[in-house]
Amino acid sequence: MRKLLMFGVFILLLPMMASAGEMQYGAGAFGGLNMPLIQDDQGSGSAFGAKAIISGLPVFTFEPYLVMAKNGDPEIDEPGVTNDLEGAKITAFGVDGTLGTQMGGQGMHPYVFAGIGFYKATRDQTDMFEEAGTDFGFGGGLGLTFGLSPKLALDVRGKLNVVPTEGGSSDKSAWILGGLNFYFGDK
């Protein structure tokens, strides 16, 4: 609850943080592949989500997001082992900062982004092994927007997520996402 409150306060502060220039807003929806990296106990699955897009500076945006992801069932390649362990479900929310994007307009715009978030992974079968503690993580990657019209753009991105776990390890995943961004206001 406290994490949610902190996140809410952070989102409310974003417009002040981007106070230079006229504020512009947009929204996006996306989906794609979710690939756990170097995790033998998770398989590849899917991810879907939505985001708000807030900009007060040229080529720079803040993007609060919510993602619902599902890992695939792991495959243990060992004779006799029944592969009936399910993949984890992940709820992630946070904020990314992007550099290189444009709030609408046509053309192709590559960009970089990085951000922080909370990643809650659950698997009902193995909940007795879940570690209590923070689910704080961070991520970043590269993306490309294609302006389809002054207010609509196709957005494709690859994101690496890193969630530190007990003892110095981390859960890592790659999201390959595609979706549409819609920009509010006159262009």
Partner: protein, 177 residues
């Protein structure tokens, strides 16, 4: 002067990010599957689980951060007309192998219980085994050492003609360098 400090700060931050990313990226999980077949003792079954000769263990034993999961795959045959219940205990390898069920029950850690075995064959699958797992902290601590005593005990039934055909312990470790 300000520019120099600003550039140095940026370089420091960039270096820290690269170092942090490098440290965190060299980590992951690996799974070890250890087959076992119990030997019958008076009042219980026994096996010494030892994964320390597994190649993955030898490669990563000094880098293990956590035991993420411990599950089981087991096949049972109950030839009696009544159902029995099955439990698993584990204990430190430095402890002696116990000679009676009462010693096992008094000294070892109960990590799997309430498994009902009806007449005939029962197959406990990996995914389903977690429903019976308990005492997770003791289980993780002993498994992290790579070797432990593994006891099986059946209860109920007047004289169950009963056996554990075979089984596997499946352990998921997380490790980092």
């Amino acid at each position: 002067m300000k520019q120099i400090i600003s550039k140095a700060g940026l370089l420091t931050i960039a270096g820290a990010v690269v170092l942090l990313a490098g440290c965190i990226l060299i980590s992951g999980t690996f799974v070890i599957v250890e087959p076992f077949s119990f030997t019958t003792h008076t009042g219980f079954y026994y096996y010494n689980i030892d994964i320390t000769d597994e190649p993955d263990w030898e490669d990563h034993k000094d880098d293990i951060d956590n035991v993420d999961l411990v599950g089981f795959e087991m096949w049972f045959q109950n030839n009696s007309a009544t159902s029995v219940s099955f439990r698993v205990y584990i204990d430190d390898p430095d402890e002696p192998v116990y000679s009676s069920f009462s010693e096992v029950d008094a000294n070892a850690s109960l990590i799997l219980s309430d498994l009902k075995l009806p007449e005939g064959e029962t197959h406990l699958t990996y995914g389903n085994s977690f429903a019976y797992v308990q005492n997770v902290e003791a289980l993780k601590e002993l498994v992290k050492g790579g070797e432990f005593h593994f006891y099986g005990v059946s209860t109920g039934g007047a004289n169950p003609m009963y056996q554990v055909d075979s089984g596997m312990v499946i352990v998921t470790f997380s490790a980092s360098k």
